[in-house]
């Protein structure tokens, strides 16, 4: 029952806030939303204990029967029921824990906004949708949550809808993720068509049974599974901002910073990872797709790392970093390192939320200044935020001891010998780690070292709740790696063990641990300018490089222009050519036909009595003629 109630605290809060929003004072609205979040945290904590106490580590609750789907193989019940196992437990603890802290932060951060209640309502709605997504026991309900988070993302990116850029970003995010969602929906239909089930557990059982049976899977089923996996991957790619649907995430930073932290770093963007992890039984049966996932993740993490190197906006750096880190998760999933991927998901949620919130605090302190080249020397001016940011960056770089170290190393360690990954991807991961440390250092140097390149006085938010939220996140980031994550009941034993002939060289781990330090060392000298910038005359001697390559990287490696060229321009051209809409014209034939009659009848209804009489006479004549014939 507690499980069933999990999303409803938020739902209630959402309804209250959206209904009475304008009339509630800041305090009341904040109390409602944050306390509902606190209740969620409490409930999920209890649930975690219940889960560990249960015998097969699974909790199940059925709320009500939703509808039936008919299939040749039999009727499939679609229920509104929740399913809690190790994987979803990780997710709900991340969602509720990080979500609670971000809510707390947001309640103070957004205090002065006139639409505060609406903002909190959207945040609550997002949590509802995310919990439904995570807890869903069937794919239809999951899809409901999936679309729900998409909607909330749209609403929150466009929260300040008076500014055109925000609205455009919201639209972009919505449309791009919709492409992935469509693919996913098709995947779900195909899945149902092939197996006659959409219940996750049932699908899993079915797939496992048929693959372990003597006859194995039929050719058609194997083929279907390949396509299902590919289509589901499409959905995951869209939601998790992976190549080729990654372009929305940097723009999504237009939303309020807590939104970036909650949705576009910690929770929603990892939904794709969760989906693949949840459906791993399907993916295991299709090694090619696993391979694609791995490559996709690797390429994304490298490209995002390169793009992050050229950004001037602090939040965009973090956005690209997020993409890159999710790339790691994808790489892990593709390599079959399921629990390592999920583990990284969790730690990433902690430290990326910390980074975003701290960045938000910094931006707030600098009067909404987001440009890195207008910062500098903040470590002295904002020591609290600065030190927390350092903590976040340490985790991001995966320096030994931090949570990021444990998760990332776990991923990298399993790449070499995975039969769906391999040494090449291992090198990619190492290169990615190197890039990570370099852009992290660049970011740190630009923002927190050197001289202050701004004139305004900083004003740091001293609210105790806000600070405690940040501190808790920092602690989680530092020590989150020590949380014992046992997902052996959820995931199959690691695939790596089954291929012993690929030998792992002994220097692998050493290199992996050393990589960030190499990066730091490199940056220390390469970005000397940034950390030692001085004022020359009235001009600052530091500005963003405007070389073509840098601008290209800054603009996300030209994906936007590529898509514009490939899709938007041709579409606009088509739309231009098809201004009168050929299909519409065909449909308008009906209207034209009706209006033809309309015109004819209008001519008859001319108000002239003599005309009516003549028509009358003509009708009589025709009637008589008919009766005569």
């Amino acid at each position: 029952m507690l499980l069933a109630s999990l999303p409803f605290y938020q739902l209630l809060s959402f309804l209250l806030l959206i209904t009475f929003g304008k009339k509630l004072s800041w305090q009341l609205a904040a109390i409602i939303s944050v306390s509902s979040m606190a209740l969620t945290v409490l409930a999920s904590t209890i649930l975690l204990f219940e889960l560990s106490a249960s015998e097969n580590q699974i909790l199940n609750v059925n709320l009500w029967h939703w509808f039936d789907l008919n299939h040749a193989l039999g009727k499939s019940q679609i229920n509104l029921s929740f399913y809690l196992d190790g994987l979803s437990a990780v997710m709900i603890s991340v969602v509720s824990g990080v979500g609670f802290l971000i809510h707390l932060f947001a309640a103070i951060y957004m205090k002065s906004d006139e639409n505060f209640a609406r903002f909190m309502a959207y945040m609550n709605l997002f949590i509802v949708a995310m919990l439904i997504l995570v807890l869903a026991d069937n794919l239809v309900l999951l899809y409901l949550g999936w679309e729900g988070v998409g909607l909330c993302s749209f609403l929150l990116i466009g929260f300040w809808y008076h500014e055109k850029n925000n609205v455009l970003a919201a639209r972009k995010a919505f449309i791009v993720t919709r492409i992935g969602d469509t693919s996913m929906a098709i995947g779900l239909l195909l899945l149902f068509n092939s197996f006659g089930e959409l219940n996750i557990a049932a699908v899993t059982t079915l797939v496992q049974q048929s693959s372990h049976s003597v006859s194995g899977l039929s050719v058609e089923q194997t083929n279907n599974i390949y396509w299902i996996a590919l289509l589901l991957l499409g959905g995951a790619v869209g939601k998790s901002a992976q190549l080729p649907l990654q372009t929305w995430l940097p723009d999504a930073m237009a939303g309020p910073t807590p939104v970036s932290a909650l949705i576009h770093a910690a929770t929603m963007v990892t939904a794709g990872v969760y989906l693949i992890a949840r459906m791993h039984d399907i993916f295991i049966l299709s090694p090619e797709v696993m391979n694609y996932i791995a490559w996709l993740g690797a390429i994304t993490l490298l490209l995002a790392g390169i793009a992050a190197l050229a950004q001037t906006d602090i939040k965009r750096v973090l956005a690209y970093s997020t993409m890159s880190q999710i790339g790691y998760m994808m790489l892990a999933l593709g390599a079959g390192a399921w629990s390592a991927g999920v583990f990284h998901l969790m730690t990433h949620a902690f430290f990326k939320a910390l980074l975003f919130l701290t960045a938000g605090a910094v931006i707030y302190a600098l009067h909404h200044q987001q440009n890195l080249f207008k910062m500098g020397g903040l470590l002295k001016k904002l020591p609290f935020e600065g030190s927390l940011f350092v903590v976040g960056l340490i985790c991001l770089m995966a320096l030994p001891g931090s949570s990021g170290f444990f998760s990332k190393e776990a991923i990298i360690a399993q790449l070499w010998s995975s039969n769906t990954a391999g040494p090449l991807l291992w090198w990619c991961a190492i290169l990615g780690a190197l890039l990570t440390s370099i852009y992290s250092c660049r970011l740190f140097f630009l923002a927190f070292m050197g001289t202050a390149r701004f004139s305004d006085k900083t004003h740091s938010e001293k609210n105790i709740l806000l600070r405690s939220a940040l501190i808790i996140l920092a602690l989680l980031s530092l020590f989150g790696g020590l949380i014992p994550l046992d997902l052996t009941l959820v995931f199959p034993t690691e695939l790596a063990a089954s291929i012993p002939e690929i030998l792992e060289p002994s220097w692998l781990h050493t290199l992996a641990i050393l990589t960030p330090f190499i990066g730091i060392l490199f940056s220390w000298f390469y970005f000397k300018k940034y950390r030692t910038s001085r004022v020359v005359g009235s001009e600052y001697n530091l500005s963003a490089s405007e070389s073509r390559l840098v601008v290209f990287c800054r603009q996300g490696l030209g994906f936007d222009s590529l898509y514009s060229l490939l899709f938007i321009k041709p579409y606009q051209w088509l739309a231009e050519k098809n201004k009168h809409d050929v299909v519409d014209q065909v449909i308008m034939l009906n209207a034209w036909y009706i209006s033809l009659w309309h015109d004819a009848l209008i001519m008859m209804q001319n108000g002239s009595l003599r005309w009516y009489l003549a028509a009358f006479g003509l009708a009589i004549m025709l009637l008589l003629g008919v009766s005569f014939l």
């Binding site: 209008i602 209804q605 001319n606 108000g607 009595l609 003599r610 006479g617």
Partner: protein
């Protein structure tokens, strides 16, 4: 003792009716339209009386009496409207009344 064929009576009736019809349709003067209407009603009366006399039933004349009352009522209302129209438009042109333009 008359042996006027019903056929001829009906021919007379339809002739009168159609003359009236032509008048109603072709004339623009409302007064003439009303008169033509009387011709038409009259023609119907001829048909009724003729049929009644052929079948030796009084019903034909009964119907004629009813037509007569109808004509009286119609003329009362029609002439009143005509007078209204004359007062308002200073003309009896029926085409002036087509203010409902489709």
């Amino acid at each position: 003792m008359t042996t006027i064929p019903l056929f001829h009576v009906l021919i007379l009736s339809s002739l009168l009716f159609l003359i009236g019809f032509v008048g109603v349709v072709a004339r623009k003067n409302t007064l003439f339209m009303l008169m033509s209407l009387e011709v038409m009603l009259n023609a119907v009366g001829v048909a009724f009386i003729g049929a009644g006399s052929v079948w030796q039933q009084a019903d034909g004349q009964v119907m004629f009496v009813l037509i007569l009352t109808l004509a009286a009522a119609e003329v009362a209302v029609g002439l009143a409207l005509l007078i209204r129209m004359q007062n308002k438009y200073r003309s009896l042109d029926i085409d002036l009344l087509n203010q409902m333009k489709g």
